[in-house]
Each structure stands twice: as C-alpha cells, then as structure tokens.
C-alpha cells in the first residue's frame, strides 16, 4: 500500500510539473466544447432555395410567400429559366431548386394533376433529403389549402399529423452534440495520455529501472491507472460545468450513475491504453495505434451518425465498442433522465470490458523479458 502511495505521488508530481500537458488538459476541453459544439451543427436551417416561377399566378405567389416565411428556407433571387437555376446548383450557389411550371394554377383548378419539380444538390445527402422533405411538405400543404378554399366543402378526410419531439423538444442540436464531444474528450485523456506516458518511460529508460526494482506488477499498473482515472473524471466534470454554463444543457438523470459509469469506462479505456503501450516501443507507434482505435470507436459510436442506420454487422460490431455504451449512457442520463435500472445492460458490458482489458494489460506487462 505504501509503495502504491509513493508511485502515485511520483506520477502526480510528474503530471503537475509538465506545464504544457497540464495546460493542454484544461484548454482542450474548453476549446473543444466551444468550437465543436457550435460548429458541428446539423440543424437544417437556412437551406438556400432558388425558385423558377414560370406560372406567375396567384398560386405560385402564395407558394413563394410560404417558402419565404419558413425558417428552413432562405429564398434567393428568382431566375427566369430552369437552366439558370441548375447552373446555380452546379456553382454551389444554391442547395435546392423549385421549378413551378407554366399553367400550374390552371391545371390544379381543372383538377389535372399539377406538379412542381424539386431539384436538390445531393452531395450532402442528409441535407438534400431534409430539404426535399420540408419542401414537399410546404407544397402539399398549399395544394391542400388551395383545394379546400376552392371546394369550400370539407370533403377531404382531415387527418392531422401532430409531431412532438421528446427529450429534446426544441430539437436543439447542441444537446445532441455536447455529450458526444464529452465522450470523445474523456476517451482521448484515457487512451492517449496513459499509453503515451508508459511508452515514454520505456524510451527514456526509466521503465527498465522500474522493472529491476521489487515493485509488483499490479502496484505499477495501479500507479499508472489512478492518476489518469482522476484526470478523466475531472475532465468530465469540467465539461459538464461548461455545458451547463454555456449551453444550459439539461441534466435530467443522476450524477452518481453518470460518474460511476465513467469510472468503469475509464478503467476499460486505460486498460486498453496500457495494453497498447506494452505492445509498443516508441511513442509514434503507440500514438498511431491509439489513433486507429480512437477513430474507429468514435465513428462507430453514434456521435455523429445514428447507430440504428448502420448495417446490421456494424451494429453488432458496436458491442465491442466501449464508446458506444458510454454514448448511450451519457445521452440517456443527461437528456432522458435514465437511471441505473434503464442502463444496467451498459453497466454489465462496460464492467466486462474493464475486467477484460485490465487483465490483458496486467498479463501482457512483463517485468522480465
């Protein structure tokens, strides 16, 4: 026990003496949370739309007015021909084109099937799809209104769809992003700092000096784990405070649940970091290895894309991804107020992960080669 205390004292002394690292540890989360949360915005507002009005009727005027009033669209200049509009798409000056053909109003009054054309720039598929969705909604509503006004009798069966968004009623994208950024942050601390630290000692030669002392393997590993566990937890707390102050992010669930999960998660990640470092000889190697894992974990975890949309094999693969569980837990706790009873499967998985990666790390760490 005394040995472990002195190992910890030494690690903390070294961490606090490394001013660059220390600053990085506290600047990193602040900058990430300010820049990334604001920048990585997937709200579909201000879609640039170009309208070609070949009809010039009161109906087409109504349509243009409706689009102008919508918060989703930013109506640009009207262009005379479809070719001009397509040219704008090609030059990336507009996101979507609405072509209103000649005789639209006429056709609709004669109850032909009137149609408008929507041309969307689908380089960004999500954006194109959403633009198409909003736009067709507006068009449909208009023709409905038009008919209703026209017929005056309500023959149409009026089924109204009312949507309500749960857990994030304002569809605030920041509420969705911030937990994701926090998860990445905690992971970087856990994976990079721990693995780099140990490999650095190998490079400098102090690792060998430690191996020739009677320090036991488990003592050494605990000495390396605990400091980064503490730092990781402080980072999360810091991130949550920033999230609360800057974005007023909701905290519906229990702090205890979130932090106890984070502790288990960090143990799993630190175990992985130590495992990687015991397999590497240089900081470059371990850096590249950690980066490889980090990237896969992040992209698969559902920080940026919904896991439900992934192919089945990818969803299955996510069972091996610790970030996936952390993602579920942090969003659940913050936004939904999920408690331990809702999240126990995640707890079981991450505990198994932690036990697995730590035992592998201890097993693969050799004092005698």
């Amino acid at each position: 026990m005394r040995t472990i205390l002195f190992l910890l004292q030494k690690e903390f002394l070294q961490i606090f003496r490394n001013k660059v690292m220390l600053r990085l540890m506290f600047v990193l989360p602040v900058v990430q949370l300010i820049v990334l949360v604001n920048a990585a915005n997937m709200d579909m507002k201000n879609i640039r739309i170009t309208i070609v009005d070949a009809d010039k009727s009161s109906m087409s005027q109504r349509l243009i007015q409706d689009l102008d009033a919508s918060p989703f669209f930013e109506v640009g200049v009207l262009v005379p021909t479809k070719a001009d509009a397509i040219d704008l798409i090609k030059r990336n000056k507009t996101d979507v084109v609405l072509y209103i053909p000649y005789m639209l109003q006429h056709d609709s009054q004669l109850s032909h099937k009137p149609s408008v054309q929507i041309i969307a720039d689908a380089v960004d598929a999500t954006r194109a799809q959403l633009a198409y969705g909003y736009l067709s909604g507006i068009v449909r509503r208009l023709s409905l209104q038009w008919q209703v006004a026209d017929v005056t009798m309500l023959q149409l069966s009026k089924i109204q769809v009312v949507s309500s968004f749960w857990f994030n009623p304002e569809l605030n994208f920041k509420y969705y992003m911030l937990p994701g950024i926090l998860v990445i942050l905690v992971t970087i601390i856990g994976l990079f700092l721990s693995s780099m630290n140990l490999v650095r000692e190998k490079e400098v030669g102090t690792a060998e000096q430690m191996n020739v002392t009677p320090v036991k393997k488990y003592q050494f590993i605990i000495g390396k784990l605990v400091p980064f566990l503490v730092i990781g937890i402080i980072e999360l707390a810091l991130g949550l405070i920033i999230g609360h102050l800057l974005y007023n992010i909701p905290f519906d669930g229990s702090i205890a649940v979130l932090f106890s999960f984070t502790t288990l998660y960090l143990l799993a990640i630190l175990g992985l970091g130590l495992l990687l470092s015991s397999r590497s000889e240089t900081q470059q190697q371990v850096m590249l290895l950690s980066y490889f894992f980090l990237l896969i974990f992040v992209m698969m975890s559902g920080v940026f894309t919904a896991v439900e949309n992934m192919p089945l094999w990818a969803q299955k693969l996510n069972y091996l991804n610790p970030l996936y569980y952390f993602m579920n837990v942090i969003r659940g706790v913050l936004l939904k107020g999920s408690g331990f009873m809702d999240l126990w499967p995640e707890f079981v998985s991450i505990s198994a992960y932690a036990i697995g990666s730590l035992s592998l790390a201890i097993w693969s760490y050799r004092k005698t080669s």
């Binding site: 002195f6 070294q14 030669g205 002392t213 009677p214 004092k367």
Partner: protein, 244 residues
C-alpha cells in the same frame, strides 16, 4: 570461506540464431569489485540483464544474492541495485524526490531514507541542491547521483552498466572512489566498462569476446599470463587475436 554472492553455471542466452552468451561460468565473492570487459556487442549487457532479473536465460543456472534468478527474479531484485547504460532517474523530479521515491520502492522507512539520503548527498557535496531537477544536472553529476540512488537501499550487489562512459576523467576518478567506498561497506560491485585503466582498479576481471569468456583473473595475473604491460594490451590480444 567466502560464500559467492553471484554464481553462474553454463549460462546461455540465444536470440533466434544468435548466441549472445555462450556457456558462461563464473562466480563473484562478497565485497569484490568484479570487472566485466568486452568490446561493444560482446554480450556484457545481455549477461548483466540476466543476472539482474530483467531478462530470462535460455539455459543455465544463475544464483544471485542467494536466489535463483529464473525462479525468484523478484527476490533477487529486492537485493540488488542496478544502474543501466541509459540514465534512468526521473529527469522531471528533483534529486530529493528521486531518492525518496526509490527509497520507498525498496521499502525504506521515511526516517531511514532521510538519514541515508542526507549522508549520501553530503558526501557528494550537493545537499544544498537537493531541490534541483535532475534533468538540469551535468552528466557527471547525474551518474554519481544514479550510483548513490542505486545503493540507497544497501543492496548486497550493485550492477553498473558502463557507468562512466562519456564522463570526464576527474569525474571518473571520483566515481571509482565511490565504488571503492561501497565495496568497503560490503557491497559487491559488478561493473562493465570500456576503459582499460578502470579494469586495473577491479579485484578480478573477465574479458568477453563474442559471447564467451576468454579470460578471468586478477589484472596482475592477466598481464602476466599474456605478457602484457597493461590491461589495454591484454584486451587487444584477446579481442583482436588475428590483428597484426
């Protein structure tokens, strides 16, 4: 009868096809200064790493401080000090912090640590600099400090792997004075070196060539055996036998 503190029987270490240590046999007595000489790549460091429990031998029996290195490497580690070729104190800790850390690792109580550290630093004449970062010290001071740290827990043997390489002649002399002092206190010193003048300071010397021990005796006896004026000539005769 002096009980040997190190006894090595038929030590073999192979890395793939390469034999780094080829059937080494020797023993070291208590309090002896035992020089381990050889050209670069002769297998000195490999043998020393096996003796100190950092590396496993392929064959043979090695007993250090009364324990078999292969079966009880951790018992051996409690009883030895080790100073590697790479400088291996923590450069971002102070002199005092380094000493406190290693003292604790070897289970010294705080009181004992303070007394010994004070004594060692006073002997070196750098007690007033105990709060300086080790990284700021010159190589000579670093090496002397590393040696002091290696014997802080009063091991029965201290292994020194080329402790004086790159160090100026004055510091080398001071370093050897420290070695003699440790030896006088009953610590066995096992030292590898390139400097043949240092070989003269050892009680006994082995010369390794290509993984084998080619000579083992006192410097005086070796010089007589090879009809040489100094250890340098002995070494050259052995290490480059076909060289004219």
């Amino acid at each position: 009868m002096n009980e040997p503190v190190i006894s090595v029987k038929n030590l073999v270490k192979r890395f793939g096809n390469f034999t780094a240590n080829d059937h080494l046999n020797f023993h070291v007595d208590k309090g002896e200064i035992f020089g381990f000489l050889g050209a670069n790549g002769a297998g000195k460091t490999t043998a020393m790493r096996i003796l100190s429990g950092l590396s496993k031998s392929t064959e043979g029996e090695v007993v250090v401080a009364g324990y078999n290195v292969n079966t009880h490497p951790e018992k051996v580690k409690q009883n030895i000090g080790y100073m590697s070729q790479k400088f291996s104190l923590f450069e971002d800790l102070t002199i005092w912090e380094n000493m406190r850390f290693f003292a604790a690792i070897y289970g010294l109580s705080t009181a004992v640590f303070k007394e010994r550290a004070q004594m060692l630093l006073n002997k070196l004449g750098i007690f007033h600099e105990k709060d300086r970062l080790v990284g700021e010290l010159s190589l000579g001071w670093k090496q002397k400090l590393a040696f002091s740290v290696a014997i802080l827990h009063r091991p029965s043997i201290v292994f020194l792997d080329e402790p004086t390489s790159g160090v100026d002649p004055i510091t080398r002399r001071q370093f050897w004075e420290m070695i003699y002092q440790a030896s006088a206190e009953g610590i066995t010193v096992f030292v590898t070196t390139h400097y043949m003048d240092e070989a003269e300071y050892c009680n006994r010397v082995t010369i390794m060539v290509d993984g084998r021990i080619e000579a083992l005796d006192t410097p005086a006896a070796l010089k007589k055996q090879f009809a040489a004026r100094n250890m340098n000539e002995v070494f050259l005769t052995l290490a480059r036998p076909n060289n004219q």
